[in-house]
């Protein structure tokens, strides 16, 4: 679930508060996005991180997006 920011801006204060509260209880899209990258590149996120850290894989825009979603997980552990 997502809300367009322009739609939010057009809401009344009451509608906006309700919509934001409802949105915050919805599941995160992060896991689905990470799985999509793993399928596309046919490797685990751990393998991607290792290859990038060792210079075997470039930090492209796509890889940077993958890393962003990995870092955004609540249980993300750095390093």
């Amino acid at each position: 679930m997502s809300l367009r920011l322009t739609d939010l801006a057009a809401m009344t204060e009451q509608e906006r508060t309700r919509a934001l509260a409802a949105l915050s209880t919805q599941p995160s899209p992060v896991g689905r996005r990470i799985r999509r990258y793993e399928l596309r590149y046919e490797m685990s996120s751990a393998e991607m991180r290792r290859r990038v850290a060792e210079g075997q894989m470039k930090e492209t825009a796509d890889v940077a997006a993958w890393l962003f979603w990995l870092n955004s997980q609540p249980n993300h552990v750095a390093g």
């Binding site: 906006r16 915050s24 997006a65």
Partner: protein, 155 residues
């Protein structure tokens, strides 16, 4: 991030500021449209995700993590804890990208810059150590606009 231009803010204030800035930019000549959405992060916070479309087939891919650091419901206290702003020319490549720190490499805030009009796909990386130099989305858009004005005849 420490307090300052990236400090904590109430969500509604944060979104109101964002909307005011985007409306100003959309009334200008450079930004033509945008499809940014708000998504849940599963922990009471949000992501801003989507694309801002500009002149010269330039587009800005935006991913921003606004974490809830206090409060409940529809107006929590939030703060940006991660971002990725990738500025590119459609069909040509990246111009520049600001990333928050990665876990295993480029572990500080950093800027990738590419000589896109000469086919550069590797680019250079410049680290950002000052809070003030970490850009807001508005600053990223204005930097992209500067690049456009300096290079539009070659696009």
């Amino acid at each position: 991030m420490s307090p300052g231009k990236h400090g904590p803010n109430r969500l509604r204030g944060y979104l109101a500021t964002h909307n005011t800035i985007m409306q100003q930019l959309l009334r200008g000549a450079f930004v033509t449209s945008e499809d940014l959405v708000l998504e849940p992060d599963g922990a009471g916070g949000y992501f801003i995700e989507g694309c801002i479309y500009c002149l010269g087939d330039i587009y800005i891919d935006v991913s921003k993590h606004i974490a809830r650091i206090g409060g409940e419901g529809g107006n929590p206290l939030v703060q940006t804890i991660g971002y990725r702003y990738n500025v590119a020319v459609k069909g040509r490549g990246n111009i520049f990208r600001y990333d928050s720190p990665h876990p295993d490499h480029n572990q500080d805030h950093h800027l990738h810059q590419y000589d896109v009009l000469n086919g550069d796909q590797d680019g250079t990386v410049e680290f950002i150590y000052s809070e003030d130099e970490i850009p807001t989305l508005q600053e990223v858009i204005l930097k992209a606009e500067d690049w456009y004005h300096a290079n539009h005849e070659r696009l």
